[in-house]
């Protein structure tokens, strides 16, 4: 699963720490998400999308592994 977190975070002028605080996770989690080294839970994906005022599928791109 790819994501566009970094892109939308830059658009909204948010740091990794800001986003982490907004969705209630540690900064490392955002780092790993942006690097594609971790797939978030549905709740976290929903929370992140909500911060950017977008739908989950706009932020997260699902691919068959």
């Amino acid at each position: 699963m790819n994501n566009r977190i970094k892109e939308f975070r830059a658009r909204d002028n948010l740091t990794q720490l800001d986003l982490a605080k907004l969705v209630g996770v540690r900064r490392e989690t955002i780092v790993f998400l942006e690097k594609g080294k971790y797939n978030p839970s549905l709740k976290l994906a929903y929370d992140i999308s909500k911060v950017f005022n977008l739908a989950i599928e706009d932020v997260f791109i699902f691919k068959n592994l």
């Binding site: 605080k21 996770v25 900064r27 490392e28 080294k37 971790y38 797939n39």
Partner: protein, 133 residues
């Protein structure tokens, strides 16, 4: 943060207990150095974990989240798996080397602790690969 304080108190109690009992049993200089090395490692690791928790607390981040829980879960499962081989090796050498049972169990437990720390560091730095879930 409350959890970190409890963990810190437990670590302090364990260390205090070890310091009380070790000097009555250790007469050999090498054994004392060996025990001190293990104790220093435990203290350094404990302080490092506390420092990281403190930084997270200062930044307003939660002490634990879904990734840190997953990392811990993966570390525990991997270290358990590797520890099975460790105990196989320990049992193989127990008949061939001149070690006492207490020593073997002690080395085995220390080995398990090192394996756990190693696997935790591995997953903490590398992340949990979504393809391996």
């Amino acid at each position: 943060m409350k959890k970190s304080i409890i963990t810190f108190i437990i670590i302090l109690i364990i260390i205090a207990g070890l310091w009380i009992f070790i000097p009555t049993q250790i007469f050999d200089k090498n054994d004392f150095l060996h025990s001190s090395f293990v104790l220093v490692l435990i203290i350094v690791l404990g302080l490092w974990v506390l420092y990281k928790r403190f930084i997270s607390f200062k930044n307003g981040e939660p002490a634990e989240d879904e990734l840190s829980k997953l990392v811990l879960q993966k570390s525990v499962s991997l270290s358990y798996y590797i520890s099975l081989y460790l105990w196989l090796i320990v049992s193989y050498f127990s008949n061939r080397l001149n070690f006492e049972t207490d020593q073997l169990i002690g080395y085995g437990i220390i080995g398990m602790a090192f394996i756990f720390v190693g696997s935790w560091a591995y997953f903490s730095l590398k992340g949990v690969d979504p393809k391996n879930l």
